[in-house]
Amino acid sequence: MLKAYMILSIILFSIGVIGLISRRNIIVIYMSIELLLNAVNLSLIAISGDIGNASGHVMSLMIIAIAASEAALFMSLFVVLFRKKGSLDANIFDILGNKDD
């Protein structure tokens, strides 16, 4: 049974990663990040249930709480970014790089 959960978790994680690096819309990127978190949550809970230890459950609860607060942060970030450039295309926000050349 654990194997099925783990495979699902890996599939979810991979979908999240591919979404993270291939999509340009920041909201979709955010959703991919949530997907990554949930893939990890799933694997934590599955392993925790399998070995009969509750600490995995506790950890995933914490992660859910953090993800919730993160969601609030992201929402406000979207608003700010959109106000700045009038778009949420991730390629526009590349001021980390050198703009000279």
């Binding site: 690096i21 390629n91 926000f93 590349d94 790089g97 050198n98 703009k99």
Partner: protein
């Protein structure tokens, strides 16, 4: 105590005035020419007076002046003291160096009048006196070497004085580089001396005291290397090439540095090391032959020169050759006596040449300066006396000094040297009177552009008197003299038996031959235009192709080598490889800049790749462990 101070003032007066003139000159403030003149003349005049006093006391009271300035080096038990010592030889050098310097300073104030580099000129000129005194007064060879290099430097600076003409700079470079060859010899000799007997102290006295500790071959090598130094400085074959070119400098420079004083440093050095050369008799003979060859060679070349100053330059080489001949056979004080008279008459001749050059708007070619007797009568008289002196007409000073050399050569059983000397002496008469007759006894072709300057005439008059009467200092016995100078100098002279009858016979034959040559030169050049018909091709007119030979075997290969290293090695190999390295780094940087584009999604991808690689590594590690 006061004697120390006198010696110090003698040395420091020219240095101080040089420093003051230098400071005034670089301050870029407007300074009156009179102030420069005053400073320059006070520096050299003061030292000239002290020098006369010192040589006077040394001559009449045999007094030794010593001044310990400071300790320069103190390594283990080896010390180099900066000590000034005016023994008989040094005082003798002072006797003509300082007054001639002073007179030429006065002359130079007229010659350099209104020159835009007046201050710079006198800075160098005063500094020259300082270095010359250091050379002469040093009591060990190392301090002497400092002075030696110093005068070489000033010579370089003054030859290239008018540096806006690149040819003058080249002439200065040539002088400096050729002298380097000689200095290399001098320096190696000092090093060998140091290795051999440096432990016993390095003052002249200590060196001569320990000479017997050196093996004979090593001693000969040292003597030879020292002479290489003298060869460079005194412009002897084969290192003479710089002196004719050195005439590019202003004429007072040629008179003071390249005729009267600096070029005689080689003679002084050989005379100073007389005890060494007395032991190394092979080297002494070599010196004599080099001197003879130089004397003859330069005298022959001078017969086909047209530049007044070049004629005089070759004549200087020739006269220095005479001195080396005398040094070589061991007659040191005779050589020094000729150097003494030479300083006066050659200084006088150069001053006359300079006066003519100034009067005729910087023309130097005797073919353009024919028949100027009526325009410059005073210069004519003085030049005539100078030329008669250098030709050794009795009873002018060079008659005594040159005939003394001839007599010694005759008495020393080197008849070949004697005939070389006789021949050069006759050539000397010929080229000097070729110049005189062309300059003064021809149809007038040119008019002076400027009248003679008084400050140039007075020093010339004094030098004329000196070149007439300086021979009295060392009158030989047959004229009722008693060789006062030789006994004063008290050098390690070799003595030759020489009967008075022979001496008188030699003198009269010599004088008759000289008069004959004089008459021949008169017939050939006076009131004729023979000078214009002389061809400028041939061996003699091209200075025996020595310059061309040096150009071919030394300068050209060296230049080609430098060109090769510059173009091929430095430029093509090193520069190109460094440049290509830089170019490739730039390309590589562009590649990485593409990845580092500031887009966070790409960074996430890289992180992912890193993670995957990390996991693969861990997986392989685990597999290996299991």
């Amino acid at each position: 105590m006061t004697n120390n101070i006198l010696l110090n003032i003698l040395l420091l007066a020219p240095l101080t005035s040089a420093l003051l003139i230098f400071l005034l000159n670089i301050s870029r403030r407007y300074t009156k020419q009179t102030l420069y003149t005053l400073l320059a003349l006070s520096g050299s005049g003061l030292s000239a007076m002290i020098a006369l006093y010192i040589s006077y006391t040394s001559y009449f009271e045999q007094k030794l002046f010593v001044s310990n300035l400071f300790t320069w080096l103190n390594i283990g038990d080896f010390t180099i003291e900066v000590t000034l010592k005016a023994d008989a030889l040094s005082s003798f050098m002072l006797l003509f160096v300082a007054p001639v310097s002073f007179l030429i300073h006065i002359y130079a104030t007229g010659y350099m009048d209104k020159d835009k580099s007046y201050g710079r000129f006198f800075t160098y000129f005063n500094l020259f006196i300082f270095f010359m005194f250091l050379l002469v007064l040093a009591d060990n060879p190392i301090i002497m070497f400092v002075g030696w290099e110093g005068v070489g430097l000033i010579s370089y600076l003054l030859i290239g004085f008018y540096f806006d003409d690149i040819q003058n700079t080249y002439a200065g470079n040539k002088a400096f580089i050729v002298n380097r060859v000689g200095d290399f010899g001098f320096l190696s000799a000092l090093m060998l001396l140091f290795v051999e007997i440096g432990h016993g102290g390095f003052s002249y006295d200590a060196i001569f005291f320990n000479l017997s500790l050196i093996d004979t071959p090593m001693l000969s090598l040292i003597a030879l290397l020292l002479f290489v130094g003298a060869m460079g400085k005194s412009a002897q074959l084969p290192l003479f090439v710089w002196l004719p070119d050195a005439m590019a400098g202003p004429t007072p420079v040629s008179a003071l540095i390249h005729a009267a004083t600096m070029v005689t440093a080689g003679i002084y050095m050989v005379a100073r090391f007389a005890p060494l050369y007395n032991i190394a008799s092979d080297v002494s003979l070599f010196i004599a032959y080099i001197g003879g060859l130089s004397a003859l060679f330069a005298a022959i070349v001078a017969t086909r020169q047209y530049d007044i100053k070049k004629i005089l330059a070759y004549s200087t080489i020739s006269q220095l050759g005479f001195m080396f001949m005398a040094l070589g056979v061991g007659a040191y004080s005779t050589a020094l006596f000729h150097m003494f008279t030479h300083a006066f008459f050659k200084g006088l001749l150069f001053m006359g040449a300079g006066a003519i050059i100034v009067a005729f708007g910087h023309k130097q070619d005797i073919r353009e300066l024919r028949g100027i007797r009526r325009s410059v009568p005073t210069i004519f008289i003085m030049m005539l006396i100078g030329s008669l002196t250098i030709s050794a007409i009795p009873p002018l000073s060079a008659f005594f000094s040159k005939d003394a050399i001839m007599g010694i050569l005759y008495a020393s059983d080197h008849l070949d040297l004697f005939f070389i000397a006789l021949l050069s002496s006759l050539f000397t008469v010929f080229y000097m009177f070729r110049m005189i007759f062309v300059l003064f006894f021809s149809e007038n072709t040119t008019e002076p552009s400027k009248n003679s300057v008084k400050s140039m005439n007075y020093p010339m008059a004094i030098l004329t008197l000196l070149s007439v009467f300086a021979g009295m200092l060392n009158l030989p016995e047959i004229f009722g003299g008693n060789l006062m100078m030789s006994s004063w100098l008290d050098l390690a002279d070799k003595h030759f038996v020489f009967s008075h009858a022979n001496e008188i016979f030699l003198m009269s034959v010599n004088t008759i031959l000289i008069c004959f040559i004089l008459y021949y030169a008169y017939k050939r050049y006076a009131y004729k235009d023979t000078i214009l018909k002389e061809s400028t091709t041939g061996l003699v007119a091209n200075k025996f192709y020595i310059d061309a030979l040096y150009q071919l075997i030394i300068v050209k290969p060296l230049y080609a080598l430098s060109f090769f290293f510059d173009r091929k090695i430095s430029h093509d190999l090193i520069d190109t490889s460094i440049n290509s390295m830089a170019l490739n780094y730039k390309k590589l940087g562009k590649l990485f800049a593409f990845f580092e584009n500031g887009n966070v999604r790409f960074y996430a991808l890289y992180m992912l790749i890193g993670l995957v690689l990390g996991f693969i590594y861990l997986f392989l590690l685990l597999k290996a462990m299991l």
